[in-house]
Assembly symmetry: C2
Homo-oligomer: 334 residues x 2
């Protein structure tokens, strides 16, 4: 493989000149630059990543810390990963997947060895031991999601609280006062998954403030279980005029459940929901919803990390991406 020395020899210049021509950190005369470019093309030179990393203490790699749950179905996760990778590439970074069962340990591993220039934490929980691990590292980190008490690391996420308020308000404005709230399984709340809490708390509080009756039902983890739970909730609350669904699985079951009960939307029941846009693209779900794209969140997280790598100090950033409600006419005015 051609090294920078081969290029220098071929072009008849010093290695430092080639290096500077490559990085642009020092002016190089057009003539020599020309010769260098030719040498690079002919010798098919590509800089050795390890050597570069050693010399600069920068690997141009971001570590993406993904909670390790191969058996769990997370529709938006892959999209997140791809968008993170796309944005990172555009900013000159590669992405290393860190899926260690022990997330904090994984962070320590890739930061201590200087493998990465920074880490991106996906699916941050309210109490998340990965935060301490990042704080301890030389390299910066950015959180997707919010950890309680953290005011040292940059964070971004969709504004789930706003989304919850928005959907409740939408139902309220249409005259609904009795609503069934289909939430994620209770296990998810027990695991302190931040977005689930933020959404639920906002929904519960808004409903309270507006004087609405809200029946919260937690979908089970097992799909067959969940089907029954949701059905029971429908049967037990005949007076409810609307359904607010934050549970992708339950959402997919819904058409069947409603068909079984001869309930049509929105004549007999109004339905609103929140789910990743990709989910809506795949399944036939014609409900008014906050149909969130992971794109702005993922892109912003990567941008913040790149900025933080370049500028380790400076004020901590905490960003909420505003949700957008798509009205598909699945709610009826009472």
């Amino acid at each position: 493989m051609a090294t920078i020395g081969d290029v220098a020899d071929y072009a008849g210049v010093a290695r430092s000149t080639v290096s500077h021509a490559l990085s642009g950190k020092r002016p190089v005369s057009p003539a020599t630059r020309e010769r260098i470019n030719e040498a690079i093309a002919i010798l098919q030179f590509t800089a050795n990543a390890g050597a570069k990393a050693l010399a600069t203490s920068k690997s141009s790699i971001m570590g993406l810390i993904v909670p390790f749950t191969p058996e769990e179905f997370a529709p938006a996760t892959m999209q997140y990963v791809l968008l993170v990778s796309e944005t990172a590439r555009n900013l000159g970074y590669d992405v290393l997947m860190v899926t260690d069962v022990d997330g904090a340990g994984g962070i320590a591993r890739v930061t201590e060895s200087n493998l990465v220039d920074g880490v991106l934490l996906m699916d941050v929980k309210r109490h998340d031991d990965r935060v301490a691990s990042v704080l301890h590292a030389r390299q910066p980190g950015v959180l997707v999601g919010f950890a309680e008490g953290n005011d040292l690391l940059d964070s971004v996420d969709l504004d789930f609280a706003a989304a919850g308020r928005m959907l409740v308000r939408h139902l309220y404005d249409f005259g609904h006062r009795h609503v069934i709230f289909l939430a994620f399984p209770e296990e998810l709340f027990a695991q302190n998954v931040g977005f689930a809490w933020r959404f639920r708390d906002a929904v519960v509080r808004s409903a309270e403030e507006l004087g609405m009756t809200l029946v919260t039902v937690y979908g089970g983890t097992d799909p067959v279980d969940r089907y029954r739970v949701v059905g029971d909730a429908l049967d037990a609350n005949p007076d409810a005029t609307a359904l607010l669904v934050h549970n992708e699985g339950a959402l997919v079951d819904l058409p069947m459940l409603l068909a079984e009960r001869r309930l049509s939307v929105p004549q007999d029941l109004s339905v609103v929901s929140i789910f990743p846009d990709q989910f809506g693209a795949m399944f036939s779900l014609p409900y008014t919803a906050v149909e969130a794209s992971p794109r702005p969140v993922a892109a912003r997280a990567v941008e913040l990390l790149a900025l933080r790598i370049a500028e380790p100090d400076g004020p901590v950033v905490r960003e909420l991406i505003p949700p957008v409600l798509v009205d598909r006419g699945s709610t009826r005015a009472l």
Copy 2:
């Protein structure tokens, strides 16, 4: 940050001795090993990844070449990625996500710079320009899926042809002679996605050989479209006694479609399918099916790559992972 020199000084030995204690490539006396371990612990030493890569020409990183389609819904993809990462970690490798729109270019980038020790190509198509890119690289590559004409690179995949034969045979044995085959959208076939072709061709051929009538219907890409297409297929083939579904979206629509038509399974219609196990774990799909786990495929691909990195020569491996049929009683004997 502590370097190997710091450790050597602290332990009162040469750097080479520390290096050998770490790698185990040379015997080290228990006494000095003890002192070295203590020094490592106290100084919190972790070897610098870049320096190691430069010295050894090995990065301990595998490049995972993922087709870039952030808007597309691929239920099993994330599971694949996680399983690849898990297996790689167990073998001492980290995983770099390569999601460049130009897959071949991405391979060139990460191999030429010596960033990775080898590449794993996911979702290999029948005609895949990434294969040539791997062939051109210094580092080895393993394919998940089969590329036509490739006999130089190791390949693994689920045996989709066997799965197709298995499901057709199952219906045949139960007396079914008229079957509707719900396949993926035609776009997928146009893109030369290997597993879709292999499954379809096996289904079509088996049905032919067994003298069965098979009506192939391609689900549309748009979910609303698909819903209609599948419904039309049911209405247009009242004599069909069974349904063979290789289309996750259509599968989720099915309960609703059948309910609308007052058809129950398996009394009025027998149903068999094939989908990733995770999909079945999420949705309530009580159908007899080849419920494939990405685990053996992903694990084997990583293993093969690790072996190939260690042993660049040696016979090319081509492995088909046998599918498993799970009988859930959704087929009736005629």
